[in-house]
C-alpha cells in the first residue's frame, strides 16, 4: 500500500505564510491559538492519521461493513481506532468549549480534516457526520437539548447523523414524506423511511443521534414545510446514559463503489420519539447551517484523496524503472530510468501537485474567512467574510472534488497496471473520491447554487468579495515585470471570468436554462481563476522568502514558484475552452427534442 505523510510543510505555508494563521490568536475567542499550539496540534494529527487511520484504510475497504438483523459492524480495527481518536480529543477540536470542545479555528480544523480524508475517508465519515449534526444542533437546538446531547457528541461517546434523503427524493427535499406527529408532551412521533444515511448504524458508539427532516401535520407544501427533529437511537435515562431503545432501526446497508467501511444505511422510523430542533417548518434553515459546513468538508475530501494519490504516484514514479529517457539515459547504473524522467509522467504528477496545492490554498482562504466571519470584532469584516464563504462554498465543494477525482485518476495512470489492481490502493482512491462529487448536493447542483443563488444574492454583493481583491491585486501588480509570467495569465483568466459572469447573468435573466447550461463550466472557470489568484499570491510569498534568504528552505519556495508556472502554463489555459463553451450558450443542448436523444 502507498505510504502517506501529512503535508505539514505545505499546510504551515498556507496557514502561516499565505494566510493569517499566525495572527489567529488575536481574534477574540482564539487567544490560545498561538502558532506553536497549532503546530503541535497538526503534528499530533499527522501522527494518528499516518499511524492509526492509514494502516486500516485498505483493509477496511476489503472487508467493508457487515449487516445482520439490524446490527452493523465496522471493519476490523475501526473500533479501536475510534477509541484512540476520541481519547486524543479529535472529535472535539472544532467544537465550542462550553460543550467540552477545544474551540479550534476552522483553518486548523480543515487541515486536520484533510489529513483524515487522505488517510482513511471511510473512517472520517463517522466523526464527520457527528460534527455536521453538532453544527445544526448547536446553531438551532433549544438549550435543554443542547445541554443534554452536545457534550456526549463532542466527546465522541455518541455519534450523529443527518437523515434527509428518502427513496423518492434527494435533491428535491420538498417532497419528503416522513411525518412528525405531536405527542402533546413536547415530543413527536416520527415515522418514515430514510435512505443513504451515512453512519446511520454502527458499533463505534453507545448511542447515535439522528437529525431527521420530517413534516408536521399542518405543514405547508414543499421545502417551506419541513421541520428538523432530534431522534436518538437509545432514549437517554435521567442520568443521561442510553436507556430504552427508540423506534428507529437500520433496515439494510448499501453495497457501494467506494467508502466501503462507511456504513450507508436505510433507516426506518416507526413512531420513534423525537424533539423539534429550531422552529416548526424551518428545518431547511437548520439544514443549511449544517450543509454549508459539510460542503466545505466534502471539498476537503477531494483534496485529501488527491493528495494521497499524488504521494503514492510520486513515490512510484521515482522508484519504478522502465525504459530510457527520450533525450538519453539518466540513470546509467540501472537497467532503466525511473519513469519520472518522462515528460508525460511529469505532466501527470505536476497536474496533481499544482491542483492539490492550489486547492489547499483555496481551503485555507475560505476557512480563514469562516474564522473571521465568526470571530472578528468588526461587523463589516464579519459580513464581508460571510459573503466570501457563501460565494466560494459551492466552488470549494465542486471544484475540489472534481480536481481531487481527476488527481486520483491520474494516480492510477502513473502506476499503469499496478494502479488498476487493488494491491497498491490507488484504485480505492478513485472509488472513494467518486462519491464526493455526488453527495451533499451533486456538483451540478453546486453550479446552479453558484449561478442561481450566490451570484444574484444581495444584488450581487458576494461577487464583490472575490472580484475586488483580484482586480486590486492585478492593478497593484500591473507594473511588476518579474511577476508578469504569473500575473498576465491570471489577468487573462480573470477577464474571461468577468465576461462570462456578465454573459451568464444577462442571458440567465432572460432564460434560466441559459444559466443552467453554463453553470458547470462557469463554476470551473471561476474555480480555476481563483486558484490562479492564489498561485500568484503564493509566488509573491515565495519570492519574498527567497529574497530574505529562505532560511534553509529555498527548495520549497523554488518548487512553489515552479509549480505556479506549471499551473499558469498547463492548467489555467483550460479557462479558454471553458469560456468558449459558456459563450456558445445552451441552444445546442436545449434544441434537442426528447426523442432525438
Amino acid at each position: 500500500m502507498a505510504a502517506y505523510k501529512a503535508p505539514l510543510r505545505d499546510m504551515r505555508f498556507v496557514m502561516n505564510e499565505l494566510f493569517s494563521g499566525t495572527t489567529l490568536h488575536q481574534l477574540p475567542g482564539y487567544e490560545d491559538m498561538t502558532p506553536d499550539v497549532i503546530d503541535a496540534v497538526l503534528e499530533e494529527a499527522a501522527k494518528i492519521c499516518e499511524q492509526v487511520l492509514h494502516p486500516i484504510n485498505r483493509s477496511g475497504d476489503e472487508e467493508g461493513c457487515t449487516y445482520e438483523n439490524g446490527v452493523v459492524r465496522t471493519p476490523k480495527g475501526f473500533r479501536e481506532a475510534y477509541q484512540t481518536f476520541c481519547d486524543g480529543g479529535w472529535t472535539s477540536i472544532a467544537c465550542k468549549p462550553e460543550f467540552g470542545g477545544q474551540g479550534m479555528p476552522k483553518l486548523v480544523n480543515s487541515m486536520v480534516e484533510e489529513m483524515i480524508c487522505s488517510s482513511n475517508l471511510s473512517f472520517g465519515m463517522y466523526p464527520g457526520l457527528s460534527h455536521g449534526a453538532y453544527v445544526a444542533l448547536e446553531a438551532y437546538g433549544a438549550d435543554e437539548l443542547k445541554q443534554q446531547y452536545l457534550p456526549k457528541m463532542v466527546s465522541g461517546e455518541w455519534s450523529g447523523t443527518m437523515c434527509l434523503t428518502e427513496p423518492h427524493c434527494g435533491t428535491d427535499l420538498g417532497m419528503i414524506r416522513t411525518k412528525a406527529e405531536p405527542r402533546g408532551d413536547g415530543s413527536y412521533a416520527i415515522t418514515g423511511t430514510k435512505i443513504f444515511i451515512s453512519a446511520g448504524e454502527h458499533d463505534l458508539t453507545e448511542n447515535i443521534i439522528h437529525l431527521v427532516l420530517a413534516k408536521l401535520p399542518d405543514a405547508p407544501e414543499g421545502a417551506k414545510g419541513i421541520s428538523l427533529f432530534l431522534v436518538p437511537k437509545f432514549l437517554p435515562d435521567a442520568d443521561n446514559t442510553p436507556g430504552p431503545r427508540n423506534g428507529v432501526m437500520c433496515g439494510a446497508i448499501e453495497h457501494k463503489m467506494g467508502i466501503k467501511a462507511s456504513a450507508t444505511c436505510v433507516m426506518n422510523f416507526d413512531g420513534a420519539t423525537g424533539w423539534l430542533v429550531g422552529q416548526p417548518h424551518k428545518g431547511m434553515q437548520a439544514m443549511f447551517a449544517m450543509m454549508n459546513t459539510e460542503r466545505l468538508a466534502v471539498g476537503v475530501q477531494g483534496l485529501g484523496l488527491g493528495e494521497a494519490s499524488y504521494q503514492g504516484a510520486l513515490a512510484y514514479a521515482k522508484d519504478r524503472i522502465q525504459g530510457r529517457s527520450l533525450t538519453g539515459t539518466k540513470n546509467p547504473e540501472a537497467k532503466a530510468d525511473p519513469i519520472l524522467v518522462h515528460p508525460d509522467v511529469r505532466r501527470m504528477l505536476l497536474t496533481q501537485k499544482a491542483t492539490m496545492e492550489g486547492s489547499r490554498a483555496l481551503v485555507g482562504w475560505v476557512a480563514q474567512a469562516l474564522d473571521l466571519a465568526n470571530h472578528h470584532p468588526d461587523p463589516a469584516v464579519r459580513q464581508e467574510s460571510e459573503d466570501l464563504v457563501a460565494l466560494l462554498t459551492p466552488i470549494v465543494k465542486a471544484l475540489l472534488t472534481d480536481l481531487g477525482y481527476e488527481a486520483t485518476n491520474i494516480g492510477v495512470q502513473v502506476y499503469g497496471g499496478h494502479g488498476y489492481i487493488r494491491e497498491w490502493g490507488m484504485e480505492q482512491y478513485i472509488r472513494d473520491a467518486r462519491i464526493a462529487q455526488i453527495y451533499e448536493g451533486t456538483n451540478g447542483i453546486q453550479a446552479l447554487d453558484l449561478v442561481g443563488r450566490k451570484m444574484p444574492a444581495n444584488a450581487g454583493r458576494s461577487l464583490r468579495r472575490f472580484f475586488h481583491p483580484v482586480a486590486e491585486y492585478l492593478e497593484a501588480k500591473g507594473d511588476d515585470d518579474d511577476m508578469e509570467e504569473f500575473v498576465l495569465p491570471l489577468a487573462k483568466a480573470f477577464t474571461r471570468l468577468q465576461q462570462a459572469t456578465g454573459a451568464v447573468a444577462q442571458k440567465g435573466m432572460v432564460n434560466r436554462d441559459e444559466a443552467g447550461a453554463a453553470a458547470t463550466d462557469y463554476l470551473r472557470l471561476f474555480g480555476l481563476t481563483a486558484l490562479a489568484y492564489l498561485w500568484c499570491r503564493t509566488v509573491d510569498v515565495a519570492r519574498a522568502r527567497l529574497a530574505e534568504g529562505a532560511n534553509g528552505d529555498a527548495a520549497f519556495y523554488e518548487a512553489k514558484i515552479k509549480t505556479a508556472r506549471f499551473y499558469m502554463q498547463r492548467v489555467l489555459p483550460q479557462t479558454g475552452a471553458l469560456f468558449s463553451c459558456i459563450m456558445a450558450g445552451g441552444a445546442s443542448m436545449m434544441d434537442f427534442a426528447d426523442h432525438e436523444f
Binding site: A459, R464, H468, G502
Partner: protein
C-alpha cells in the same frame, strides 16, 4: 388654447372645494374661494383662509407652487358674493344638502354675470333636483362637474348636463377643464354616482362582502383584487383605509336611496357589523387609528397588523399563501386569466367579485353612458386601474365571462349578450373603434391638439429600435425618441440609439426631435442594476464607458444641428433629468418631478448634470453675481438630492428654464412638444459652447465649511460627506481659479473622475445595493 374662462369662483372651502380652487390657481387663473361665516367668528373669512393655509402645508401639495396661492381671493358668502360678479365659472362644492344648495344657487344667480356657468361638485344629488324651481336662464347655465379627490392629482372629471343646459356652457367648461386644468372629461347621464362611483362602489361592496362570505383574509383579498387585474396593490381593503371607512355608510346610503329596485347593488348591500364597529371605535383608516391594516407601534416596534374579518380583532399581517395567488404571480401578464381559472377559494373570490363588477360595467350602457371607452377612462383615471373593465373583458373574452357568470348564477346583462363573438374594442387600418349597444362600432377619435404616441406606434414602424429605445416619425418632419426599457431606466442601448438618431435626423431630412414616452414616469435614471453588477465584478472600464457614453450621447443631442425638445411627465430623475438639461427646450407635463438624486445612491450626476446646473444657475436672475453663488446653489441642490414637486417648481429650482413650456393635460403633451420643436426649426443654431469661470480650491473650501455645518447639525452622514466632497470638487472646477476658462469637456472630465472614484467606494456600493433591494435610500 384660448378660453373664455378668465376667472373662477369656488363656493365651499372643504377638502374638495379648496382643492378645486387650488388647482384653478395652478392653472394660473384667478379664483375666488368662499365659505360660510361660522357662528361667533371674529374673522368672517376664517374658513376659506384656514383652508388655504392648510393647503400650503399639505403633502401631497394641492398647489404646484406656493406662489399659486396668491391667485386665490378668500371671502365669505355673506359679505363677498359681489366677488362672483366677474367670474366666468362658479363651482359649488358645499355640503350635500339640497335645501342649502338651492338657497345658495338663488343668491348666486342674483349676482353672477350673464352667460357665466354654474356647476355643482355633487356626487349624490341628481341634476334635475338641484335646478328644480330655478330660472330657465340658470338651468341653461348649469351643469354638474364632479371632481375626484385630490383635485390636482386625479385626472378624471365627470360632467353631467341637464336637458336645458346650453351646449356652449358645456363646451366652455370642458375645454377649460381639459386644457387648463388637465382633466380628462367624461360626459355622464344624470344617474346616481355617475360612472366612477356607481361602478367603483359596487366593486368595493362586492369585494368586501365576498371576502367575508368566502372566508378570505384582507391580505388575500387585496392580493387577488389588486395587481393581477391591474388594480393598485392597495386592492379594496387598502383602498378603504386610504379614503376613510367612515365615508362608506354615507355613500352606500345615498345609493340605497337612489338606485332602482333590482339593481345589483341591492343584492350585495347589507349591514356590515364589522365596519360599523370599526368606525364607531375610531378605526376609520389611515386618517384614524388604523383601518383594515394598521402599524402597531406598541412596545417600540413597528408591526404591520390586519383585521381578522371574522373576529374583528387585529393580528400580525401575514403574506397570503394561496395557490391561486402564486399561480397568478407565475402567469405574469396572464395573471387575471390564471386567477379566474383557479379552483381554490382565491379563484372563487376572483370570479365572484370580478365577474360581478365587469357585468355591472356592461349594464351601465346605456343607463349612464353610451360609451365603453368613457367607462374605461373613468375607472383608469378615477381608481387608477391600469385597464378599464371593458379592456379587462376583452382580455378575458366575452364568452369566458358569460360562462363564469352563468356558473356563479349571476345575471348576464344585455350588452354583454350582444357582444358575444365580438370584442368591445377593435383596431382596423390603425383606427380604434368601440362597440355600441346596437352592435355597431364607432370610431374613437382623439380631440384636436391631442397626439398620442400609442396611436403612432399602432400605425407605423419605428425608424430605429433596440431593446431599450425606439425612434418614431410623428409627422411634420419631427421624430420622437421613446424609452422602452423597464421603468425607462437609461442603459447603453438607449445611449446607442441616441447616437444613431442624431445621425439619422439630418440624413433623412427630418427637422427636429422630441424626447418623450408614455410610461408612468419619464425616466427614474440610469439602470443601477447594470452599474452595480459591473461594479461587483470590478468591470470598471465598462462603467467608465457607460459614464462617458452618456456624456457623449447627451452632448451629441445638445450639439445636434436640429432642435431637441424634452417632453417629460412623472419622474425625471438622475440621468432622466440630465437628458432634459441638455435639450434646447422642454415642454413638461405639469406633473413632472425633476431632480438630480444621484447622491442618494452615493454617486454624483455624471452625464453632464453638474455642468448644466452650474451653467443655468450662473445665469439666474435671482442669485447674486460672481462665480460662487451659482456653485453654492448647485451644491445645495445636488447634495440634498432636491426633487421639484411639479413642473412649475422645477422652473423655480432652475431644472427648467422660464421659457420652457408647461402642459396641464397629459394627453396634450406630445402635440405641444412637437409644436415647440417646430417653432425652433427656423434659423436654428445649436447653443454656443459654454465657458465656465470657477473658483477652484478656494471655492471647494467654502463648500467644505457649509458641509461641516450640515454635519454638526446631524444632517450629513459620513458617506454623505464623502460624496459631497467629490461633488464640491466638480462644482468648484477642480484645480482652477477665476482667471481660467474651463470648457464643458473639462467639467465632464471632472464628473467622470469623481463618479469613478465613488463607484468604487464601499459606502456607495452599499447604497446602490440597498436601493436595489429595498427601494429605499441607505443613510450610511
Amino acid at each position: 388654447m384660448e378660453t373664455t374662462i378668465k376667472k373662477v369662483a369656488v363656493i365651499g372651502a372643504g377638502v374638495m372645494g379648496a382643492g378645486i380652487a387650488a388647482h384653478v390657481a395652478n392653472a394660473g387663473v384667478p379664483v375666488v374661494l368662499l365659505d360660510i361665516v361660522p357662528a361667533g367668528a371674529t374673522n368672517r373669512n376664517t374658513i376659506a383662509e384656514t383652508a388655504v393655509e392648510k393647503m400650503l402645508k399639505a403633502d401631497p401639495a394641492p398647489f404646484m407652487s406656493k406662489r399659486c396661492a396668491r391667485l386665490i381671493t378668500t371671502g365669505n358668502i355673506e359679505d363677498n358674493l359681489d366677488l362672483l360678479a366677474d367670474c366666468d365659472w362658479i363651482v359649488e362644492a358645499v355640503i350635500e344638502r339640497l335645501d342649502i344648495k338651492q338657497d345658495l344657487y338663488k343668491k348666486v344667480d342674483a349676482v353672477r354675470k350673464a352667460g357665466s356657468v354654474v356647476s355643482s361638485n355633487t356626487s349624490t344629488i341628481p341634476l334635475d333636483q338641484l335646478t328644480g324651481g330655478l330660472s330657465d336662464a340658470f338651468k341653461a347655465d348649469f351643469c354638474i362637474t364632479h371632481f375626484f379627490n385630490p383635485p390636482r392629482y386625479m385626472r378624471l372629471l365627470e360632467i353631467v348636463q341637464g336637458p336645458q343646459t346650453r351646449a356652449d356652457a358645456i363646451s366652455t367648461v370642458s375645454a377649460f377643464a381639459d386644457v387648463r386644468l388637465g382633466k380628462s372629461v367624461v360626459m355622464c347621464k344624470d344617474r346616481p354616482g355617475f360612472i366612477g362611483n356607481r361602478l367603483g362602489i359596487l366593486w368595493i361592496l362586492a369585494a368586501t362582502v365576498e371576502a367575508i362570505d368566502n372566508g378570505l383574509t384582507v391580505e388575500e383579498a387585496d392580493a387577488i383584487i389588486g395587481r393581477p387585474f391591474g388594480i393598485p396593490k392597495t386592492g379594496v381593503f387598502g383602498l378603504m383605509d386610504l379614503v376613510g371607512l367612515d365615508l362608506m355608510p354615507h355613500v352606500l346610503a345615498s345609493m340605497v336611496g337612489s338606485l332602482p329596485a333590482g339593481d345589483t347593488f341591492h343584492i350585495l348591500n347589507r349591514d356590515l357589523d364589522l365596519i360599523k364597529k370599526m368606525i364607531a371605535d375610531g378605526y376609520t383608516g389611515r386618517k384614524g387609528k388604523g383601518g383594515f391594516y394598521r402599524i402597531n407601534k406598541a412596545g417600540g416596534g413597528k408591526v404591520k397588523e390586519a383585521v381578522d374579518l371574522k373576529t374583528g380583532e387585529y393580528r400580525v399581517s401575514v403574506k397570503p399563501q394561496l395557490a391561486s395567488i402564486s399561480a397568478a404571480t407565475e402567469a405574469g401578464k396572464k395573471a387575471a386569466a390564471a386567477l379566474l381559472a383557479h379552483p381554490d377559494k382565491g379563484g372563487v373570490y376572483a370570479r365572484r367579485v370580478m365577474a360581478r363588477t365587469l357585468a355591472y360595467a356592461a349594464s351601465l350602457v346605456p343607463d349612464v353612458t353610451d360609451s365603453v371607452a368613457d367607462i374605461d377612462e373613468a375607472m383608469r383615471l378615477g381608481y387608477n386601474w391600469k385597464f378599464g373593465p371593458f379592456e379587462l373583458i376583452d382580455s378575458i373574452g366575452v364568452d369566458a365571462l358569460i360562462a363564469i357568470l352563468s356558473a356563479e348564477g349571476m345575471e348576464v346583462p344585455p350588452f354583454l349578450t350582444a357582444a358575444v363573438g365580438k370584442t368591445f374594442y377593435k383596431v382596423e387600418d390603425g383606427k380604434r373603434y368601440e362597440l355600441r349597444l346596437d352592435g355597431s362600432y364607432a370610431e374613437l377619435k382623439r380631440p384636436d391638439g391631442v397626439l398620442m404616441l400609442e396611436d403612432i406606434k399602432r400605425t407605423s414602424k419605428p425608424l430605429l429600435k433596440n431593446g431599450s429605445a425606439a425612434l418614431w416619425d410623428i409627422g411634420d418632419g419631427v421624430v420622437c425618441l421613446e424609452f422602452t426599457s423597464k421603468m425607462n431606466a437609461l442603459d447603453p442601448e438607449i445611449l446607442k440609439l441616441i447616437g444613431q438618431a442624431v445621425k439619422l435626423v439630418p440624413q433623412k431630412g427630418y427637422k427636429a426631435l422630441v424626447v418623450y414616452n408614455e410610461g408612468s414616469n419619464f425616466s427614474v435614471g440610469a439602470n443601477l442594476g447594470l452599474a452595480i453588477f459591473a461594479a461587483n465584478i470590478a468591470a470598471w472600464p465598462i462603467i467608465e464607458e457607460m459614464v462617458e457614453g452618456g456624456q457623449k450621447a447627451y452632448m451629441a443631442l445638445k450639439r445636434a444641428p436640429f432642435p431637441v425638445v424634452g417632453a417629460p411627465s412623472g419622474m425625471a430623475l438622475g440621468g432622466g433629468c440630465e437628458i432634459l438639461l441638455h435639450c434646447d427646450a422642454v415642454q413638461a407635463h405639469a406633473e413632472t418631478y425633476m431632480g438630480l438624486v444621484e447622491v442618494g445612491v452615493g454617486l454624483i450626476p455624471g452625464w453632464g448634470g453638474c455642468k448644466e446646473m452650474l451653467h443655468r444657475l450662473s445665469r439666474s436672475k435671482v442669485l447674486p453675481r460672481g462665480p460662487m453663488p451659482a456653485v453654492a446653489k448647485a451644491f445645495e441642490t445636488i447634495s440634498t438630492a432636491t426633487v421639484a414637486k411639479s413642473a412649475m417648481d422645477a422652473q423655480e429650482k432652475s431644472f427648467l428654464r422660464e421659457t420652457d413650456g408647461i402642459t396641464m393635460n397629459r394627453y396634450r403633451l406630445l402635440a405641444d412638444a412637437k409644436a415647440k420643436a417646430l417653432a425652433l426649426v427656423e434659423g436654428y443654431a445649436p447653443a454656443e459652447p459654454i465657458e465656465f469661470r470657477l473658483p477652484g480650491p478656494s471655492g471647494k473650501v467654502a463648500l467644505e465649511m457649509a458641509l461641516g455645518q450640515f454635519r454638526r447639525m446631524g444632517k450629513a452622514t459620513p458617506h454623505d460627506e464623502v460624496v459631497s466632497m467629490q461633488l464640491a470638487g466638480i462644482l468648484s472646477g477642480g484645480a482652477t481659479d477665476h482667471t481660467e476658462v474651463l470648457k464643458e469637456e473639462d467639467i465632464l472630465a471632472l464628473e467622470r473622475k469623481a463618479f469613478m472614484t465613488l463607484v468604487r467606494h464601499p459606502g456607495t456600493l452599499a447604497r446602490v445595493e440597498h436601493m436595489l433591494l429595498t427601494g429605499k435610500p441607505l443613510r450610511n
